[in-house]
Symmetry: C2
Subunit: 455 residues, 2 copies
């Protein structure tokens, strides 16, 4: 083995700025609309929910935004994250492709989510916020926010989808260990929760309900703000630190990716690794394919429509331009919980509509097969979300082999699977089933939309 397995950066190479792709987009993302009036909303409408600095970032058109010194100091706990050449996987696939991956699972919360949780909590702290509320499904985001709130000594209330709260007790305890309060949603703490429970005392909850509860708590208490782990522009921008580091690491490795691949839920993972490479595309110096991979059970990018839709089920959020399956779409209970969201963020949706990026959907058995091969050849057990990227990597590597091409592939290994062991157990026992959504289900869900169309 003469190939360098790990490509590292020194601490002083941690990027000083996040990249705001909006500055370079030929077609800018459409504005959010008020859910009632359907008119574009101004930044001031977001003030009850977010601190001013994050609102400024949300609407910023500056190309780079400086990372505060205190945030960079905390990033140093796990950043720069390593990049690896997947020598073991390459050998197993017998492919001429060179496969690289950026590994974000080294963060204390085990995923890329702290990249945005830390600055979000920092800006809230600077503006005197005492408590932050959020929702979480699988638990990656709630863990990251609890971790960050622990470091800044801010209260953290996490509304966790009840079925996950009951099925993933370790996630809850992890959040508690960092000082986070975790409530099964729907709860009796909010108007939204009480309403749902009155209708159905046994409601298993959903991400849409949990968002409504977290948003309501922020709207009804002045010292409380709300935080979101994906979809929004500022969240995606914070994640670009992944791709900025990856650019430096690819240079160090003496390669440049022909294709960059990431799993897709709301867009933060994909944006994080892909946007800095897209900058090079947009600047005209390179041409890299940027590929988002979604589960076949929640295929908004490949089978949804591009129109305005709500971020939650209840209608407490603005209308956003997105590729969507409809805000009432309920994805099957697949194990990649972080990818079970009905819509995509505004920026990513615009880029897809403009054909600047590609999207594919893959079924979960192929993903787990890929994840297992990866664990046994590279040693790291990937989160179920991350296996979607790996499955696509294997497709690309096999195509390279068929074509006899040396292709450089880079993907984002966004997190480890330490809290997803039951998923692997079910896969190993042969108990996982496929969940491919039918065209009828999608059309049914979309038919319920009365939101503005686009173009």
């Amino acid at each position: 083995m003469s190939i360098s397995k790990k490509i590292t950066l020194s601490e002083d190479q941690i990027p000083t700025h996040w990249y705001n792709i909006v500055a370079d987009m030929t077609t800018k993302p459409l504005p959010p609309l008020h859910p009632g009036t359907k008119e574009p909303i101004g930044p001031e409408m977001l003030m009850p929910l977010f601190p001013m600095e994050l609102i400024k970032q949300e609407v910023s058109t500056e190309k780079y935004v400086e990372i505060p010194e205190e945030v960079r100091e905390i990033y140093k706990i796990w950043r720069p994250t390593p990049m690896f050449r997947a020598t073991g996987l390459e050998k197993a696939l017998d492919t001429p492709a060179k496969i690289y991956y950026k590994y974000e699972g080294v963060s204390p919360a085990g995923s890329h989510k702290p990249n945005t949780a830390v600055p979000q909590v920092y800006y809230n702290k600077m503006e005197g916020v005492k408590r932050i509320t959020t929702e979480t499904g699988a638990g990656q985001w709630g863990s990251a926010l609890s971790f960050a709130c622990g470091l800044f000594d801010i209260e953290c209330d996490v509304y966790m989808v009840k079925v996950s709260y009951e099925g993933k007790p370790y996630r809850k305890i992890m959040m508690n260990t960092w000082g986070g309060n975790v409530f099964p949603s729907p709860s009796m703490r909010t108007e939204a929760g009480r309403k749902i429970l009155a209708e159905d005392p046994n409601s298993p909850g959903s991400l849409g309900i949990a968002i409504s509860e977290a948003v309501e708590m922020a709207l009804t208490d002045e010292s409380t703000k709300y935080a979101l782990g994906s979809v929004l522009n500022h969240v995606l921008m914070h994640q670009t630190i992944i791709g900025e580091e990856a650019l430096l690491q690819m240079e160090k490795a003496g390669d440049y990716p022909d294709v960059v691949i990431a799993p897709f839920g709301g867009g933060s993972n994909f944006a994080g690794i892909a946007f800095p490479f897209l900058r090079k595309n947009l600047e005209g110096t390179h041409q890299t394919r940027c590929v988002a991979v979604e589960p076949a059970s929640c295929p908004k990018l490949t089978r949804g429509v591009f129109r305005y839709d709500l971020g939650d089920s209840v209608g407490m959020t603005p209308l956003l331009p997105m590729y969507t399956l409809g805000h009432n779409f309920v994805p099957a209970p697949i194990h990649a919980g972080g990818l079970r969201y009905h819509g995509a963020g505004a920026i990513v949706s615009q880029l897809l509509n403009d054909k600047q990026i590609e999207a594919y959907s893959i079924k979960q058995l192929e993903c787990f097969e890929a994840g297992l091969l990866f664990a046994r050849t590279e040693g790291i057990i990937p989160a179920p979300e991350a296996t979607h990227a790996i499955a696509q990597v294997i497709r690309e590597a096999e195509q390279a082999k068929a074509e006899g091409k040396e292709k450089v592939i880079l993907f984002n290994l966004c997190g480890h699977g330490h809290f997803d062991m039951t998923s692997y157990e079910q896969y190993l026992a042969g108990n996982l089933v496929e969940h491919e959504v039918t065209q009828e289900e999608i059309l049914d869900s979309l038919a319920q939309l009365d939101t503005p169309t686009i173009g």
Copy 2:
């Protein structure tokens, strides 16, 4: 924050040699004895259990042993591991002490154990071994060996103490994911297991029984060998890569530790970080206190005796010179499962007897309190084993404050607690109880020993 939080090394700074402290010891460790004849055994007696290269290392008196290139390549997946300045913890303690920690939880298996699992599997592979057996209690060692066997494509059979097998299902699945086979022990697969089950079909198992089963499988099949995760000389030597890196990192930080602290189970964790600093003591250039911390419920170093004892309960292993509580001692079911072993390795025992190192015991509530403070100030959730070191660090830092002294403290954060969340849950719920062993229990256990005494 102007202090550098993380002290890293580049890949080419990974040490090329392990350090064998036996070469420098003024009193060499006593030889192992045959359990029947009580006579010293030669290396050839170990051949049914271990590959020749590991036996050579077990009895080596060379000061340094070269790390094979292929092992170093795999080490690169997670090594060099980071060292951190515990700025958050220091601030919370308001101490003049400077606290550093080496973090081994970044390995794919989440602890320091792969440092020896990888070379052990490598030497077995080189000598044509097809299957490796081992025992595991809490699961850290079984996970590490499964991980390493996965990379070298060797079969791995893990005998897991039945009560852990049932109580820690995620650990089992983790091993399965890497391809390891996991059997609850006692099992019907071995003579030893069948005997135990015939006497007590509901036996919860013990580490002693699991060792007997794993050893029996190796003794009865020529293509199968046995592997141990602590206690033995070669295992401790492999772990010295931790301290060798730490020496370089302390130099980079411009400090040198006044005290080095590690949790103590069988000795591999402590030896790993402390032996390279002890070398500097033995060479006369430095004087660092090396402190082992054991649970109050299993206090072999602080309350046991120094004499020959068996490594297992059934008597299938050689007699080793050790600080021991007696091989029939059953520690209380504390959450730091990795520290529930009745004896200490031969080298560490000799060093303690010669007053070259110090030992303290701490109760588990103080340890979990320390672990929680650490999680909330440093962001990393420590394994219950590691919290023992943190509790001692806090004692030392508070003493430094009381004395107004700037003291440099280094400890080994040997692993994360991702698979120990139920322990934190019980602590947070106030359900953890103390388990301090009585003098009577210790004397009772020691009274059963008919093994040779020392000195």
